[in-house]
Subunit: 213 residues, 2 copies
């Protein structure tokens, strides 16, 4: 259960005084009904509250998630990931920018010859380099990339919702999708098998929402 | 109803031979069960197919969308939009990049003094300028921005799903949220009141999926 502070207060109010209208909740919180609408919608969609027309909101003890929600939670990254847009660390920042344009992606995954995850480079990193004194043609991406172990990753069997949470929490657009393997020294390493982005998440929402219409 | 070609073929197969297992559908399409899984999941979530354990898939004639799906389709942009990250057209591209970093956004909305929508500028536009011969300090964003009428927009009362579709179809990250007004010549113009991005969509999916858990 991950409620915002305001959502927690709404749930408390509904628990203590249901049925209660949106208008009445808004008055108690000193907010407008319009400000509360998204919270009430989300809480009702998630099955925490029940909205009865012309009566008001009820708190749902032991709320059963809807079948759709159960399925939403079962979606796995592996079924919706994109192919990785990957480059080697020795190519120039200039060539990295050109690759971004030709592949039309916002981030590139930097990999070794064996497709092992070494780092990530984003449009933001490259803009920063372009602003500074970095010679884009001469300096390789390996110098300015964000490098392991500072990369947030996902795996094919991770739930889509967990991966989406990572994208939000870390304010990033792209997660490399990896598989772990053990190298000759017994250390854990990561092979890149895809990428998972906010575009994949948006596509999932559009597909769920528009199919069967 | 917006099905991909493969989803259409799946629906046809299920219509003609239900109940049918995922394995059997995969064989008919000469694909693996794993390849079909996301399509089958989405079709089931959207209520087009019904999955009965140990029996198989059925086509649902006149499928009723679930209550959650009905609500999902009712979500409006205005309830989930972010405040606009806006700049004036006369500031330099250099300052635009700095503003992007300080506001941590991928696109800036270019507006007049009256907050009228004039154009958009993205990290991609600025990277392109940085690669070329453009003097970032001297050239204003008004010169390199994408300008009206070539801007894809949304409005507060547009369904979130429609806005998300626009983001996918036009391969963009940000839609300016506008209100129309009529200027002194009787022409329609657009005032910027927010922005709607793939980050907003991702947040909605995370909220729906994780609340009430």
């Amino acid at each position: 259960m991950e409620l915002t502070e305001r959502q927690t207060r709404i749930v408390e109010i509904v628990k203590n005084s249901s049925p209660i209208t949106g208008e009445q909740i808004a008055t108690k919180l000193d907010l407008t009904r319009a400000t509360l609408r998204p919270d009430l919608t989300i809480l009702t969609m998630a099955g925490v509250l029940e909205a009865r027309p012309r009566v008001g909101y009820f708190y749902k003890e032991n709320h059963e998630p809807s079948a759709l929600l159960v399925r939403l939670r079962q979606l796995r990254v592996g079924d919706f990931k994109s192919i990785p847009a990957a480059i080697r660390p020795n190519i120039s920042n200039y060539d990295a920018i050109v690759t971004m344009f030709t592949q039309n992606v916002g981030s590139l995954i930097v990999v070794s010859e064996e497709h092992e995850l070494l780092g990530m480079i984003s449009r933001k990193d490259l803009l920063k380099a372009a602003l500074g004194k970095t010679d884009l043609q001469q300096v390789p991406v390996g110098v300015i990339m964000t490098r392991m172990p500072n990369i947030i990753m996902t795996m094919s069997d991770e739930p889509v919702l967990e991966a989406a949470k990572k994208l939000m929490q870390h304010q990033i657009d792209t997660l490399p999708v990896v598989e772990t393997f053990i190298d000759e020294h017994g250390d854990e390493r990561y092979e890149v098998v895809g990428r998972f982005t906010k575009t994949n998440v948006t596509k999932i929402l559009v597909q769920i929402g528009t199919l069967g219409q």
